[in-house]
């Protein structure tokens, strides 16, 4: 980017600077730390210059926004055309309460719905299962059947909203319910817009709501890809997630490396299933974390876009430019929030959100400040939404695309992250691919080591957490947190009982048998799942049927 003469001059001045300006200063005022490092142990220099980016080529490495490799953004106008979607994750207790929260958020200006499901729903257990005891309606809404789905979306026109469902092992079931519900509203499936997370690999790595072993789980995912490419072209069929991997303790490089490695595994699986990456590539979406180290995060998002575009092009020979684009949703890092001095979290979330916007996210969830204590209150959720609105309307950062592009620091960091990510991808290839790497426990071990090291650094004050290991105060007031209604479980059980009495047991049984047969014979299970949910088969019943055929996953042991 700079000509050789200029670079030589800069080199000369740097030498002068280091010897005549820096040295005397540092002798009198030593720096605050011995070394300055990012989360992924990148050493940060005093300052960055053209010398740090001398190999960078604008056209090939950066390009204009909306052109491969999309480093600067996946669209040419980005937020000048349309702001990022402000999508706050919500859902708790009953479908009725969730529905109310949805209507509230929509009235406050939220532009997309995001559904959280409780653990039994995510893991394929009905609310009356013994495994579900104590967990019904806790971390999200309990959905046992199409009945509950109808309540969840009451008076919400499915052709007018975009719904993101955080559901993985049971994604086929919940998606089928969404489709069935739309049908009842008179909305054809091709009008539906939204996303299902549907990313099983990260469940094995970091989130834990798996059911079946990797192979059949990958099959279900490609079934969904296939079905949706035909009937729900407007739906994002996977949200390849790094958020949870980061939350589990990974650093920024690992977050990107393991997420893209998962992506590679899904693309390979889909290609093996006969799908065209030029087509389904357009419907892949990603989900990342917005963490603390501001500039590293921004660089991380840019690196991710560039790496993915290159992988799709070079590794999978994708020609359709739209299928090279890494589009992503971001959530601010929950694990960075503290229970101590919760108001501090508002500042944390604001900086993390800003990094996500400067990094070019397509949609964003900002955490509420009381989340280290429990589910957020209406007030705190509103404040979190306002944080986004203030960035969008008051700061001016959305007025140009990739404002930090060209910063020597940001470009160097972007390239360094890319390098380290590629090293990991190579290692994973050597292990036989992501599924093997997960089965061997390699990914989990890497993450755990980083997490442990970080924890030890917090304890010896190498890492500071304001309010926790520095600037602590004596706290007494018990914060108001959202109360959980213990009656929910009983009410759901009642609902289930009534449902099972009302419905036609025989058609349910038949539908489940057909589903099992399709699963055994390697057919696409979606039509059969759809049929089952229309007859009011429950999440638990459908999951059990599939468990009978596919078996259950046993955790890789690393300790």
């Amino acid at each position: 980017m700079f000509d050789n003469e200029e670079l030589e001059q800069i080199k000369k001045q740097r030498k002068k600077w280091e010897e005549n300006v820096v040295e005397p200063t540092v002798k009198r005022f030593p720096e605050r730390k011995e070394e300055f490092k990012t989360s992924s142990s990148h050493e940060i220099k005093k300052t960055y210059t053209p010398l740090d980016v001398e190999d960078l080529e604008y056209v090939n490495d950066l390009a204009f926004p909306g052109m491969p490799p999309y480093t600067r953004g996946v669209q040419p106008t980005m937020y000048r055309g349309k702001l990022w979607t402000m999508r706050q994750y919500a859902g708790f207790g009953t479908a009725e309460e969730s529905n109310e929260r949805f209507h509230y958020l929509m009235s406050q200006g939220q532009t997309g719905l995001s559904v959280a499901f409780d653990l039994p729903t995510q893991i394929g257990y009905d609310s009356d299962d013994s495994m579900a005891e104590g967990e019904v309606g806790r971390v999200g809404v309990a959905i046992d059947s199409l009945d509950d789905m109808e309540t969840l979306f009451r008076e919400i026109p499915l052709d007018k909203v975009s719904t993101s469902m955080t559901i993985n092992s049971t994604a086929a079931i919940l998606l089928a319910m969404y489709i069935a519900l739309a049908e009842k509203q008179g909305v054809s499936p091709d009008k539906l817009k939204g996303t299902i997370q549907n990313d099983i690999l990260k469940e094995y790595i970091a989130r834990g709501t798996y059911i079946f072993p990797p192979e059949p789980s990958m099959k279900i995912i490609t079934d969904i890809f296939e079905y949706c490419s035909e009937y729900l072209p407007g739906f994002n069929t996977i949200s390849i997630s790094g958020y949870h991997i980061r939350e589990a303790g990974a650093n920024a490089v690992q977050e990107i490396a393991f997420t893209l490695a998962d992506g590679i595994a899904y693309v390979e699986a889909a290609i093996d299933a006969g799908l065209d990456p030029n087509v389904f590539g357009k419907r892949l979406s990603f989900f990342f974390n917005a963490h603390n180290n501001f500039f590293e995060e921004i660089a991380k998002f840019r690196a991710a876009r560039r790496i993915w575009a290159r992988i799709m092009k070079e590794r999978f020979n994708v020609e359709n430019n739209k299928a090279l684009r890494l589009r992503f949703h971001t959530q601010t890092g929950g694990s960075t929030l503290t229970a101590q001095q919760p108001l501090n979290n508002i500042a944390r979330v604001a900086y993390q959100a800003l990094a996500a916007v400067l990094g070019g996210t397509q949609s964003l969830h900002t955490n509420s400040y009381d989340e280290a204590l429990g589910l957020p209150t209406e007030e705190s959720v509103t404040a979190a939404l306002r944080t986004q609105q203030i960035i969008a309307y008051e700061t001016g950062v959305a007025d140009t695309v990739d404002p930090l592009g060209g910063s020597y620091f940001i470009e160097k960091l972007t390239s360094d992250i890319e390098k380290k990510v590629m090293e990991y991808l190579s290692k994973i290839d050597d292990l036989g691919g992501m599924v093997k790497a997960i089965e061997k426990g390699y990914i989990q071990k890497e993450i755990l080591n980083t997490a442990y090291e970080y924890q030890l650094n917090v304890e010896n004050q190498k890492e500071i957490v304001v309010g926790v290991n520095k600037f602590q105060t004596d706290e007494d007031a018990e914060k108001e947190i959202l109360e959980f209604d213990p009656e929910i479980e009983d009410r759901q059980k009642e609902k289930l009982k009534t449902l099972k009495e009302k419905r036609d047991q025989n058609t349910v049984k038949e539908a489940l048998e057909k589903l099992k047969k399709a699963a055994k014979e390697d057919d696409n299970i979606m039509p059969y799942v759809l049929d089952a949910v229309k007859h009011y088969a429950t999440v638990g019943e459908i999951s059990s049927a599939l468990r009978d055929v596919f078996g259950e996953y046993t955790e890789a042991i690393i300790l």
């Binding site: 005891e133 989130r207 834990g208 709501t209 429990g374 442990y452 300790l559």
Partner: protein, 130 residues
């Protein structure tokens, strides 16, 4: 002759967040203890059986899904039935202040919320066994 502390670190219920449990297990191991980390999705029955057969000195439960009261209740009950209710139980996770009280009344020895240093946890574990 050999006085090693034996600790069970368990993840009861459906919660899949195991970063904290694993880190605590590593810290305890690095402090010279013999640690059994159970992995995810343990039923109260499995946890108590392991605690009994292995005759651990301490039981550690990690619960971040909010189901701590129900799960601890069940576990305490089973511990009583298996004659091991004397073994101290530590609970770690997202526990609101008023539930901490309830847990202690149930017989839980100590509750650790987010941000408690590993050093402190190791200390408390050693204390509990004396």
């Amino acid at each position: 002759m050999e006085n090693k502390l034996k600790v069970l670190v368990a993840k009861p219920g459906l919660d899949g967040h195991d970063r904290g449990a694993k880190i605590v297990a590593m810290a305890l191991r690095d402090a010279g203890m013999e640690v059994i980390y159970t992995g995810l999705r343990q039923s109260p029955e499995e946890i108590v059986k392991a605690a009994s057969q292995e005759n651990v000195d301490i039981i550690g439960l990690s619960i971040l899904s909010g189901a701590h009261l129900k799960l601890c209740e069940r576990i305490q009950k089973l511990m009583k039935e298996s004659d091991i209710e004397d073994k101290p139980v530590f609970v770690g996770g997202i526990i609101p202040a008023k539930d901490v009280k309830k847990l202690k009344e149930m017989g839980i020895y100590e509750v650790f919320g987010p941000g408690v240093p590993l050093k402190k946890i190791v200390e408390k574990v050693k204390e509990a066994v004396k």
